[in-house]
């Protein structure tokens, strides 16, 4: 059984005795999925990058429209989850309640001009369901997803190459 500390709303959670709460099993799987979607990091070196893979997108919204934002988001979520699965594969202490077996369903839907949402259903090794619903992706946000990686041709959606990206 592998465990980690419980994170909620971006912070660690303490119990009534003042100790950090631990999570494991299916609850840890949910937390890891959320983290994988929010943070574009690879478990192999080079290490950890802030920002989500969902915002690693060419700066031209028209380009996104042309290739289809749905396809892009679908691929990004899929890649994030597969990375997590790779990571679990390398960890001998991950148990069946936590380990993702496969992605059952992944649907992306358009909400507004630059806003999308997706529904994800993953199945763990012990046949439990793990779902992500109403995860809103706004491509107009200026999150510097991949700037930290030094991909100069990648800028957050909505920016031009002339403007100074914030870091």
């Amino acid at each position: 059984m592998s465990y980690t500390m419980k994170c909620d709303d971006g912070d660690l959670i303490m119990d009534s005795t003042g100790r950090y709460r631990a999570v494991f099993g299916q609850e840890k799987c949910v937390q890891d999925i959320a983290e994988s979607l929010l943070n574009n990091y690879d478990t192999e070196f080079p290490m950890y990058y802030n920002g989500s893979l969902l915002y690693e997108i060419d700066h031209n919204p028209a380009f996104v429209e042309a290739i289809g934002a749905e396809a892009f988001i679908h691929a990004a979520v899929n890649e994030s989850i597969e990375r997590l699965m790779d990571s679990q594969e390398n960890d001998e202490y991950v148990d069946a309640a936590e380990k993702i077996n496969h992605i059952q369903q992944l649907m992306v839907r358009r909400l507004g001009i630059m806003t999308y949402t997706f529904y994800l259903l993953a199945i763990t090794e012990d046949d439990s369901d793990v779902t992500v619903d109403d995860f809103v992706v706004s491509l107009a946000q200026q999150l510097p997803a991949s700037l930290a990686q030094g991909y100069s041709n990648f800028l957050p959606a909505g920016q031009t190459t002339d403007s100074q990206p914030f870091v």
């Binding site: 980690t4 890891d32 990091y41 950890y48 390398n90 202490y93």
Partner: protein, 475 residues
């Protein structure tokens, strides 16, 4: 044990390993624990990098990796000032087209500014000179049909980029009444940048050898105090080295050192006096002399010959007999003035070294390193796409750099060299000069004692350094 600073990734790996050794069930690859470990790793790695840097500062081995401020502060701890470099000096000639009026005196005052045409490199006159209209003919330059007077000017800032080529200083800053123009007939010299990091590090090292100038290393330290970075290379020959030491008979068994410097530091000086009558040889007071600018008798320039001491054992030192030879003997009460340049570092450091008093004081004399002209001739062919003249120019520069320092050819600093290998020279040229398709060495020997066309050249590594003979040719 030397510390090898780790990267963030390396520190993170170690932290993860420790974490999983302590508790293998805690997930340290992803999640909040991984985030915390990453934060520690960033901080620890930064501390290690800094500790590694402090180790570099402490050892001073790789001086060019140190921040300049740190190196300078380190030097100040040992009483060494990094120095700001030297301003270049140049001889400026001010001229007017029309004949100076009789009875009028024309001044070029100290502080008068002249510059290159773009106004970038500015020089300031440091010695006021007067052109007297009554003796206008003295100043007449028949070749250019104008009236000229020369004086010395100094660059307004330090740096070797102020060593301007002849003819390039031709503009006034502001206006100078009566004069029509200015020109430098010779290149500006002696400008230098602040001393480089490696060189300054050596100065610090030398300073730790103490202040007793009777010991070999301390002599160098004393010279460094005179002018930090004023020389390219230094070597010492002690009186125990009876093969090389030139003044053995003059010391009566006392310990002595000959110090040889490769230096370009020159200063100018004016030597004037009143003749007793009959003098033709005027021995200059500050030696060794680099060149003589002019000689005047009763205010008028007279023809002279500069005789540099090349024969005695004191040639190139402050005891050399450098002199000006006049073609006409001086008459009683005639006033003469000589403007000349002398090697200031040799002169000044001799003064400093001789000022130390000690009952067991060594007899120290500072010399200028002896240049040995090397004759090189080579037949080359150039690959088709290259410009012939630029390859030849590169080859000449690279050859000069090689002779300066064969082990690591550099254009900037010369070294004392004990041998030159023609095979190594050829290999180095093929490596350094782009566009050389074929390089056949025809001549490679020292001009004073060479016996074969191409030979391994041997020099006295303590006193001699090679220079490229101007008659060398490549083609």
């Amino acid at each position: 044990m030397a510390l090898v600073p780790r990267s963030i990734d390396e520190v993170l790996s170690a932290l993860r390993q420790t974490r999983s050794d302590v508790d293998p069930y805690a997930d340290s690859v992803k999640g909040p624990i991984s985030v915390l470990l990453y934060c520690y790793a960033v901080g620890l790695s930064r501390v290690e990098q800094h500790a590694g840097y402090l180790s570099t500062v402490y050892q001073m081995e790789r001086a060019d990796e140190l921040a300049r401020d740190d190196l300078d502060n380190l030097g100040r701890n040992y009483g060494k000032n990094p120095g700001a470099g030297n301003p270049a000096r140049v001889r400026l000639t001010f001229w007017m087209q029309s004949r100076p009026q009789a009875g009028k005196i024309y001044n070029v005052d100290a502080g008068t500014l002249a510059s290159t045409p773009d106004g970038r490199y500015i020089f300031s006159v440091i010695r006021t000179v007067l052109l007297t209209g009554d003796s206008a003919d003295l100043y007449y330059n028949a070749d250019l049909q104008r009236y000229e007077i020369s004086t010395t000017a100094e660059a307004t800032a330090t740096g070797d980029d102020y060593n301007i080529q002849a003819g390039n200083i031709s503009a006034f800053i502001g206006s100078l009444q009566d004069f029509d123009g200015v020109i430098n007939n010779a290149a500006a010299t002696n400008g230098s940048d602040p001393v480089g990091p490696t060189q300054f590090r050596n100065v610090i090292w030398n300073s730790m050898q103490g202040l007793n100038v009777n010991l070999a290393g301390n002599i160098i330290s004393a010279i460094d105090r005179v002018d930090t970075g004023g020389y390219d290379d230094v070597s010492l020959v002690s009186s125990t080295d009876i093969q090389t030491f030139s003044r053995l008979k003059h010391l009566n068994g006392k310990l002595g050192y000959n110090v040889y410097l490769l230096t370009d530091r020159v200063e100018d000086d004016y030597y004037s006096g009143t003749a007793q009558g009959g003098e033709t040889d005027l021995y200059l007071p500050r030696k060794p002399v680099n060149s003589v600018e002019y000689c005047t008798v009763d205010g008028k320039q007279v023809p002279f010959t500069f005789s540099s001491d090349t024969t005695t054992i004191y040639a190139g030192s402050t005891l050399s007999s450098d002199k000006v030879l006049l073609s006409t003997p001086l008459l009683p009460a005639q006033v003469f003035e000589i403007h000349y340049y002398y090697y200031s570092l040799i002169y000044d450091s001799t003064q400093v070294l001789n000022n130390y008093s000690s009952p067991f004081r060594a007899d120290i004399l500072v010399y200028l390193g002896r240049p040995v002209p090397i004759f090189i001739a080579a037949s080359i062919s150039i690959s088709g796409v290259q410009d012939t003249s630029s390859v030849l120019s590169d080859l000449r520069s690279a050859t000069t750099a090689y002779l300066n320092y064969p082990d690591a050819p550099t254009y900037a600093r010369r070294r004392f060299v004990s041998s030159l290998d023609p095979y190594d020279y050829r290999e180095t040229m093929l490596r350094m000069v782009g566009g050389l398709a074929k390089f056949t060495l025809l001549n490679f020997f020292r001009m004073d004692s060479g016996v074969m066309d191409v030979e391994t050249i041997t020099l006295d590594g303590a006193t001699e350094y090679p220079v490229l003979s101007p008659t060398s040719y490549f083609g």
